[in-house]
Structures are given as structure tokens and as C-alpha cells.
């Protein structure tokens, strides 16, 4: 009997719910929610349809973002300066310490450069390849809980292709994942989907930098006897062909649980980024035409290309 009463109650509730939803015009929501859930599931599994939708979305949003970026530039600049004021003293102390360290390293670097040059001449070493680059402005930030990417206002018409490495003045910022006609999407090194083969520590031990959307990236596959310690530099290894060897990434830090990488790039202050028009050496072997552009930077020897405004005639 008790069961029957419950059953009746359930039935009445079940009848009332669709009626209430109909009255509140909520049924269309259910359809759209199912559609959006399907789209998210397709994105999750990397279905070509989802990738095509993202690509089309990039093309649609890009001109709007460019326009909004141009209109809102003074306000964005003022806001960024305002937020920078909060950490001005801390930032100044950091820069003073860094400047002191860099001055000490400058003399040593010049000495090493001379020695390397003379040794290369003695050994008749093949000169390092030159890599062209273009510099572009960041026009949109991804925001959100789990995607770390930015959109820059340079694209295929500037010679940019998916896979090209992207640098800021401080080091490797990421790589191009979508190249539109005039804009590109850059996946940052701390993004969940980013994996970069690196060299870490004094013995240049091989490892992999894995982004996990936190400010510090994971340092995986590092041999226990690598000798890597907190404070050691981390640079790209060149393995895999996406990134040239020797690009600065950051330093090792110890979180207490594991060694992680603190990227040298300030991802919350990205303004201009340089895209290296670098194709893997194997692409040249396969007869793929290499890019040509305006800027030229030697990799492995010179400093990271400094960020330059577009008005400087980079594009």
C-alpha cells in the first residue's frame, strides 16, 4: 500500500515536471544543452568535425577581435598599467636583481662566444641556419579555466604555419596551432596540451616539459641521475623538430613534491610575440619550401629575438 502511494506520488511528479517545463518554455533548453554536450564531447575526442568548427570559429571571431582590440587598446593599456602598479615595487626589485646577474653573465658570455667562434673555425663547423621571424601583437587572451592560448594579428599571409615556435622577449611562449589568413592562435607552453622536449641541468639531460594549466609546468622523464637542481636552466632540445635546439624556456624550481619548470615568460603580460618561421630540417630534405620573411635571427648563437612593435616594419 505504501509502495502504491509512493508510486502515485512519483507519477504525479513526473507528470508535473514536463508541464512546468512547457509552461516556462524550458524544453528548447534541453535540446540545446544536448547539442552543446555533443559538441563538447566531440572536442574532447578531437573529432575532425570539432576541429573544423574551431577553425571556422577562429576565422569568424578574428576580424571582430582585431577591431575590438584596436578600439579598446587605450583602455586595455590603461588597465594593464593600473594592474602593474600593484606589483611595481616587487617587479623593480626583481629587475634590479636580474640586471645585476645579467651584467655578471655578460662578460662570461662574450668570452665563451669568442672561444666557441674560434673552436668552430678550427673544426670547420657548418654555420648555424638562420631563422626568419615575424613579430605580431597579442589581440586576445583565452581566459577560462583550462585553455592557455592567445591570438596574434599575423597569419598565413605573413608566412605563419601551424607548428611554428613562438617567442617572447623572455623565452619560448608556445607554438602556433591554428594559422588563419591574418591571425593565428598560439598554444602557450603551460597549456594542458603542450609537450616540449627539453634539456635540463648542467649535463643537458633530456626531459619533457608538460603543461598542466598551472603557472609551473611539469618536468617529466628526467633521469634520476641527471644532476638537475633547482635554479638550473631549461632549454629546448630540438628533438621532434618543432622547436630549434637551445631556446630558453625557464628554470627548475622545487615545489617540495617534485621538480617543476618556472617559465621565464610572463604569460599575463604578453604584448608582442615573435613567430619563428622554422620548419623542421626534415621538411627541407623532403623538398618543402622554407619560409622567407623580413627579420632574420641566428638560432643557437644569438639572443632571443626581441619583441618589436609592428610599426618597426617587421611585417
Amino acid at each position: 500500500m505504501r509502495h502504491d502511494i509512493r508510486s502515485d506520488s512519483y507519477q504525479r511528479s513526473a507528470q508535473r515536471l514536463p508541464q512546468a517545463m512547457r509552461e516556462a518554455s524550458l524544453w528548447p533548453f534541453a535540446g540545446y544543452i544536448a547539442l552543446a554536450a555533443a559538441m563538447l564531447a566531440l572536442s574532447r575526442i578531437g573529432h575532425p568535425y570539432a576541429l573544423a568548427v574551431q577553425s571556422v570559429g577562429h576565422e569568424v571571431a578574428a576580424p571582430l577581435l582585431r577591431t575590438a582590440s584596436a578600439v579598446s587598446a587605450p583602455f586595455v593599456g590603461a588597465m594593464r598599467r593600473l594592474t602593474a602598479f600593484r606589483t611595481l615595487v616587487e617587479e623593480n626589485d626583481r629587475l634590479v636583481a636580474e640586471n645585476r646577474r645579467l651584467r655578471a653573465n655578460e662578460t662570461r658570455a662574450r668570452d665563451l662566444e669568442l672561444r666557441v667562434t674560434s673552436l668552430e673555425a678550427l673544426n670547420k663547423t657548418v654555420a648555424a641556419a638562420k631563422i626568419d621571424f615575424v613579430t605580431a601583437r597579442v589581440i586576445a587572451d583565452s581566459g577560462g579555466p583550462f585553455v592557455r592560448s592567445v591570438i596574434i594579428d599575423a597569419g598565413r599571409e605573413n608566412g605563419i604555419k601551424p607548428g611554428h615556435p613562438v617567442m617572447s622577449a623572455d623565452g619560448v611562449a608556445g607554438r602556433v596551432v591554428i594559422a588563419g589568413q591574418r591571425t593565428s592562435r598560439v598554444l602557450l607552453t603551460v597549456d594542458f596540451n603542450s609537450r616540449i622536449p627539453v634539456l635540463a641541468g648542467p649535463h643537458q639531460a633530456r626531459a619533457v616539459m608538460e603543461g598542466d594549466n598551472s603557472p609551473l609546468a611539469r618536468l617529466s622523464y628526467l633521469a634520476p641521475d641527471s644532476g638537475a637542481r633547482p635554479g638550473d636552466l631549461v632549454v629546448t632540445s630540438g628533438v621532434g623538430g618543432i622547436f630549434p635546439r637551445g631556446l630558453h624556456i625557464g628554470r627548475i624550481v622545487d615545489t617540495g613534491e617534485a621538480l617543476r619548470i618556472e617559465p621565464s615568460v610572463r604569460f599575463d603580460r604578453l604584448d608582442y610575440l615573435s613567430v619563428l618561421l622554422f620548419d623542421p630540417p626534415t621538411a627541407a630534405l623532403a623538398g618543402v619550401e622554407l619560409n622567407s620573411g623580413t627579420g632574420t635571427v641566428p638560432f643557437q648563437e644569438g639572443p632571443i629575438p626581441p619583441a618589436r612593435p609592428r610599426s618597426g616594419g617587421v611585417r
Binding site: F29, S43, A61, L64, V76, G143
Partner: protein
């Protein structure tokens, strides 16, 4: 008339999304707060008494948010739809409709939106995102809702003055 109101809802939300996607140089909390601003606009328009935001409008603006915030397609769409559904259902069931009541519903919708965003990111990445940025975003979003509602209420009044129908009675938050 409906077209004008729908256009107001959709275009104002798209504008908020577009401006939120600019590179403001915000920190970790800002990364959570900024993409939520168009959701706040959806919360405001979904609580309208006369003509709440259409589900199709919510879907379109959610998709647009996915595009400009470079999120996986469907993420912000789902967050927007779930939040709008909640606000609409809560607004319908409310017997007294006052600005205070709307504010309470909106304040209840913000944690729901944040929670749904966290859950979806967990589903997508398979790893739980840090909870602290979400918690610290809560007061910022509650504070941001007031000026945003004031601006949207002003736009609503301007449309009414131009011959359209005002959707949110009482104005402001």
C-alpha cells in the same frame, strides 16, 4: 518588437564577450572572472520578466564565447545554457518579482555557473582545476554584476525610449 528585444539581448552579450576577451593582463583570478562576464549578462537578460532571453540567443552567445575565449566548442555554451535555465526556472517560480529578488537569483546563479565551468573543465582535461581561483572569483563576479546590470538596464531603457519594449522592470540589478 521581439526581434528588437532579442537583438538587444544577443548583441549586448556579444559585446561583453568581445571586450572580456581582450588581453587585459589579468592574473589567475582574472582568467576565471573575465570569461564569466558574458554569463553575467545572460543571467541578467534571462531574469527579465516580460521577454527573457531566448534559448537560441543563449546558445549563439555561448558559442561565440567559445570562439573568442578559444575554449573547446561547447564549454561556455553549456555553462551559459545551464545558468540561463536555472535563472529562468527560478524567476518563473518566484511569486514576487522585485529587483531584490532578481539580485538574489543572480547571486545564486553565479556559483552555479562557476561550478558548472569547473566540472566541465574536469570532464575535458580529466584533472581537477585548482579551486581557489574559482572561490576568489566569486566576490569579484558578485561585485561586477552590479555595474554590468546597471549598464544593461540603461540599454534596456534606451531601447524602450526608442519605441521598443522594456524587458526588465525596475531597472538596474
Amino acid at each position: 518588437m521581439t526581434i528588437g528585444v532579442t537583438a538587444l539581448h544577443v548583441l549586448s552579450t556579444l559585446l561583453v564577450a568581445l571586450l572580456s576577451a581582450m588581453s587585459w593582463g589579468a592574473g589567475e583570478t582574472g582568467r576565471i572572472v573575465l570569461p564569466m562576464l558574458p554569463i553575467l549578462a545572460i543571467v541578467y537578460w534571462s531574469g527579465a520578466e516580460r521577454r527573457p532571453m531566448l534559448s537560441s540567443g543563449v546558445f549563439i552567445t555561448g558559442l561565440f564565447a567559445d570562439m573568442v575565449f578559444q575554449a573547446p566548442t561547447g564549454h561556455w555554451t553549456l555553462v551559459a545554457l545551464a545558468t540561463a535555465l536555472f535563472v529562468r526556472a527560478a524567476s518563473r517560480s518566484a511569486s514576487i518579482r522585485t529587483p531584490m529578488r532578481r539580485s538574489v537569483i543572480a547571486l545564486a546563479a553565479i556559483p552555479l555557473a562557476l561550478a558548472s565551468s569547473w566540472c566541465l573543465s574536469f570532464f575535458y582535461t580529466g584533472a581537477p582545476a585548482p579551486v581557489w581561483p574559482y572561490l576568489s572569483a566569486l566576490p569579484w563576479l558578485a561585485a561586477a554584476f552590479i555595474p554590468l546590470a546597471a549598464v544593461l538596464g540603461l540599454a534596456d531603457r534606451l531601447v524602450e525610449r526608442a519605441g521598443g519594449e522594456r524587458t526588465v522592470l525596475g531597472g538596474g540589478a
